[in-house]
Amino acid sequence: MPLTDDQKRERIARRIAQELRDGYYVNLGIGVPTLVANFIPKGMDVVMQSENGMLGVGPYPLESEVDADLVNAGKETVSEIPGTCYFSSADSFAMIRGGHVDLTVLGGLQVDEKGNLANWSIPGKMLKGMGGAMDLVAGAKRVVIAMEHATRENKPKILKKCSLPLTGVGVVDHIVTELAFIEVTPQGLLLREIAPEATLEQVLGLTEPKLLLPPSGPAVMSV
């Protein structure tokens, strides 16, 4: 049984959540990255940064707590928690650009073997804008890309060279898909883990560049 879209999304989010550490300041992008917040291990203090000007993003509010002045970077209503603070966009990006954010999770249209990322435009077809993504990839200590391994037409999204407009050059540290956990290294892309039901052949077939393998082969992704 192939995974449903929701199952793929949840798996990617769960795997990325395993990268979190106590005390991390984390910025999550729109879409699948936002789901990562649902899987923070119990007892771990992870502070969410939202680039519109908030540290300590709480869960979605109860209907009775909805506040038009309190939204996340995806423009969804959120709530505050004890310890939350607010600041301007200039302060927010000083934090981001200045290297104070431990980890950011963003979606991707394409990633290539040099760690280049494209995620904000398909010329002539789709134009969303980069928002804070270019600053996040330039400034966060670690950049994790959460995306489906291939397109709907089974074309690779992990490429030798991105063809879409770039968000950043040499900025990606890890790519997490429903099939694999890949690390960007100076030598190329290292296939660290593959999903329990996936085969090596399948992952290689859906990935354009050559993937390096760890000496003992890829581990099984714990999902």
């Binding site: 109860l62 939204v71 966009s89 950043g168």
Partner: protein, 231 residues
């Protein structure tokens, strides 16, 4: 000192075709609704608007796209406003996309007397095209220039007649930088109070930056994406 002005319409009396307006807000959060309405009523055209987004089709700066009063947008994000995307893709609207941190810093620099600055953001991408680049400590940076407006429209929670402003929660966003970076800065507030009623330690935007202030007659404060939990 009294910077109070009778209405948003009076506040923009000197706005002319072709001018540049800085507009605070992120999505529909913290937007100068009353001033945007006044621009629609005034009918000025060929405007350049600097704003993180353009709201949605019928709320926020999106209203002025509908009435075709805008020649150029300087923004960071389009998603969420189909008309904005269509006008930009068809070329009917000029669009300059800036990374959000770069836009914030260009405005901050514009208000702080700094003509340009180097940032690592966007190096190697289209936003760096045609711009000077330079290496510092083994890393490449892009030279970005300060940005200013003829007018700034700022939305704050409270303000006094000296122009001291307090923002509320994430409605602060780009408003404080915009308040520093225009020739004529207008603040619309939900509550206008007397000097002394805001704790001096709690002022976010000192009154020196603000030229005119009024209490908005109407704040819809529409919510773009109402996300809630059950328990």
């Amino acid at each position: 000192m009294d910077k109070r002005i009778a209405s948003p319409d009076a506040a923009i009396a000197n706005l002319r075709d072709g001018m540049t307006i800085l507009m605070g807000g992120f999505g529909l959060c913290g937007i100068p609704e009353n001033l945007i309405d006044a621009v629609r009523r005034q009918g000025t055209r060929e405007l350049t608007i600097v704003s993180n987004n353009a709201g949605v089709e019928d709320c926020g700066a999106g209203v002025l796209l509908q009435t075709r009063q805008v020649k150029k947008m300087i923004s960071t994000y389009i998603g969420g406003n189909k008309l904005f995307e269509q006008l930009a893709l068809s070329g009917e609207l000029q669009l300059e996309l800036n990374p959000q941190g770069t836009l914030s810093e260009r405005l901050r620099a514009g208000g702080a007397g700094i003509p340009a600055f180097y940032t690592p953001t966007g190096y190697g991408t289209v936003v760096a095209e045609g711009k000077e680049t330079r290496e510092f400590g083994g890393r490449m940076y892009v030279l970005e220039r300060a940005l200013r407006g003829d007018f700034a429209f700022v939305k704050a929670w409270k303000g006094d007649r000296w122009g001291n402003l307090v923002y509320r929660k994430t409605a602060r966003n780009l408003n404080p930088m915009m308040a520093t970076a225009a020739d004529y800065v207008i603040a619309e507030v939900e509550e206008l109070v007397e000097p002394g009623q805001i704790d001096p330690d709690h002022v976010h935007t000192p009154g020196i930056y603000v030229d005119a202030i009024f209490q908005g007659a109407r704040f819809e404060k529409r919510i773009e994406i109402r996300a809630t939990r059950k328990v």
